[in-house]
Symmetry: D2
Subunit: 260 residues, 4 copies
């Protein structure tokens, strides 16, 4: 039962490779998460357990694929940014996106119980993933801005929506809330929230900004191997940040992240 | 903070689609499973817990993606066969392979405890996946034969290897076992096993043949909705089979599976 | 001035290869031929000089790329069919389509004066080309039927159109002719031609069927190298045929052309 | 004979598009030009008729595809550079490369007699073409440097080779010349030429540098439409240049050509 006679079928594999010297973004997206969050009673408009779980998964991915520069997550999606020069899996598209999404999913199920202690998994969560290439630093920055602007727009909408539905002084149906919001612009939504006593800009930035994970220089207390004393050392630690990444400030403070 | 200014970056996505009217195989492969099985003390040469877990994951995949005709698994890999006419996700390659591998991984972690009761997961299992197209039924059959021949070759080797290492009358080191087997052909390995009292062809076909999952017509006892009586009905049930799929018999009995 | 420092740029080339064991069609199409035929006073609705020139170019292509099974041409387009097993240029898409279209164009300019004796070339003719893969013999036959049906539809329209415009008893403007034909179906166009004394089905099949080029067994008179006598021998000769290729007859007589 | 029944085959076309915002180079290469130049008695090591013909073809291509920034030619090849933002044919790879190579070939055959007056075309010249993407200005500059360094290396070799073969004081066979040059480095080749009375660096830069075609501001005498007087006006004219494009000077003088 020799293999050789059948082995020719191997040559039907046709792996496409990603253009060199371009920034690579791998974005994963939740599959049917509308349904998944309903089944598992996610709190609305934001469930910090869900966000923290997603962030923990992203950190696992960044530990394993350590040439990822930065990750940005919001809602049921996460984007991972590789530098121009990454040679991961010979830049084979399928290898990269399937390994990444598989590890993320693995972490999601494994860590579920750490974040949703009282809630058993009722259905299998899954994600898709795609590779997108950006040839310039500007294109990459614009990509990240796009995702963060999307976070803002959706979060403002969702915050207003669920306030209309859940606030005891409102108690609209979901359809009514939808109708009301269809006609209000961004300013109108802010005002509506204000009437509920909510200053949107004071809400937790974790919800408003999404999560950016970067290797930040942090002073860490360690036991010196030589002296046995406890010393403080600067270490690069994967750190979730809830900050603006559209403006210049974040990037000026971290000039090493994206070089032209 | 309008999205529109950044939205142009969306057009850098470039999804490749798979040629129409070809058989599609999605094969997933364990990532660093040599290490993973060591950490989790898989029994050698075969661990039925591991095989049954893989099979359970494949069944989850086939339930969700119900136009999969057939799946074939062995070792740390699983191949899923879609018919020529599948229109899954508009035949977009990345969508198909990432969704599939993600669901498989999700099931693997979720069901782990059902098969490895006493063993906690120590590290995150993950898989890669690839799409391969076959234009003819013959190419597809040859693909499946290739994987089953590979199963046979590896299993014969592994069975001999671990007998040399583990059998109390042998107790070779792994290096010694490797050296011995390097010089023996298929017949030699059968003979070697015979000296340990093992007739290779009598070993569990689950190990020798791998697992083929097909929707088999099965008589099922059901409670009739009309009469409340228990009746027997023919149902198509996803069934793991441990049989030869290289020869004609399997296919002659299931002519609906692969049409030219 | 060593090359080596710059040679890395070579690795940005990313040649895509065509799936194995599929029928390959390369179709070339005239670039702006509406304008080109106007400038060079092509006769309407059909100019046999133009058709014969296209056919001569196709024959040059088939002489050079001798694993082409068959070519089919009509209007300003030509399709070349390669067998499943072709290994031309390692099945690299760009290599195949650019070499083919370049040779076709070269022949077109070179042979122009043989067909358009009194007309100087006033502008540069050019063509584009594309590769299309068909996984089954049926798909390939349907492709060829599609092109021949297209030939029929366009030729019936064009014949009626130019009769309305050019026939001394009609002398419609082009706009008027267009308006009239917009409202007539296939039967109506046949009837309209009949009123001009034309039986469409009796028109030259070169116009109605397009040109199929195949290597036909032909009795050829040759001088025997041994005896010096003139003898008749069967040779495979590239032959333009003006026949139906939608029905079964053509293919039944040439079973070697397309094997499943 | 409706088309509709067969039209589904159209959906097997699968045009790949080129990543946005990257520099695009289309390079055409002569097919079997070693043989072609032999048949047509090209002068060795360089035939100005052949070079000028290639340049004239490149100019035709740049007239038609007017967003080409620059072209660089040497030997039997020509590279055409499109800017990052080109939207030619929706950046469809096959459309771009086949149209370009077809027009170049068309011009080559059409203009042949203008450059090779006494030599009839004996065989059909043809070319292949490929698209290559460069994400940064540096990569693009390095590509052009690579081709010009290649021109230098080949031209130095060929000049020495044909001097050994053709110089009445040498008259080596081609094999002998090859053996001699195998052992000499760049300095050795310069010295060898010096012994034949040739200062390589004084040879016509058209041979040593290849041809760069750029739209240069040129003072052109024109008849004014208003006054009927002859006036001098600055016009952008496609101009062949035989200059160094590896160093900075060329680019500093033309900062509009490549922007980061």
């Amino acid at each position: 039962m020799a293999c050789s006679k059948y082995e020719y079928v191997k040559h039907f594999e046709n792996a496409s490779t990603l253009l060199k010297n371009t920034f690579l973004v791998v974005r994963i997206d939740g599959h049917s998460f509308h349904r998944f969050t309903k089944i598992h009673n996610y709190r609305k408009p934001n469930d910090p357990r869900g966000i923290n779980l997603m962030n923990a998964c992203a950190i696992e991915v960044m530990k394993e694929f350590n040439d990822i520069i930065l990750a940005y997550g919001q809602s049921d999606e996460y984007s991972f940014v590789f530098p121009r020069e990454t040679a991961l899996y010979g830049r084979r598209e399928a290898k990269i996106e399937t390994n990444l999404v598989s590890l993320f999913t693995s972490a999601f199920v494994f860590k579920w119980k750490d974040y949703f202690e009282d809630t058993e998994l009722q259905s299998l969560p899954s994600f898709d993933a795609r590779c997108v290439l950006y040839p310039t630093a500007k294109n990459l920055r614009d990509y990240l801005s796009w995702r963060q602007a999307d976070c803002h727009i959706n979060n403002l909408y969702n915050t207003a929506f669920w306030e209309l539905v859940q606030n005891p002084s409102s108690l609209k149906t979901e359809q009514e809330a939808e109708s009301i919001l269809k006609l209000t612009d961004s300013g109108g939504k802010n005002e509506l929230l204000f009437q509920f006593g909510i200053n949107y800009n004071k809400l937790d930035p974790m919800y408003r900004k999404g999560t950016t994970i970067s290797r930040e220089s942090v002073l860490v207390e360690e036991t010196s191997k030589n002296t046995g004393e406890i010393v403080k050392r600067k270490r690069k630690i994967l750190t979730p940040l809830y900050v603006d990444i559209i403006g210049e400030e974040f990037w000026k403070e971290r000039p090493h992240l994206i070089k032209e």
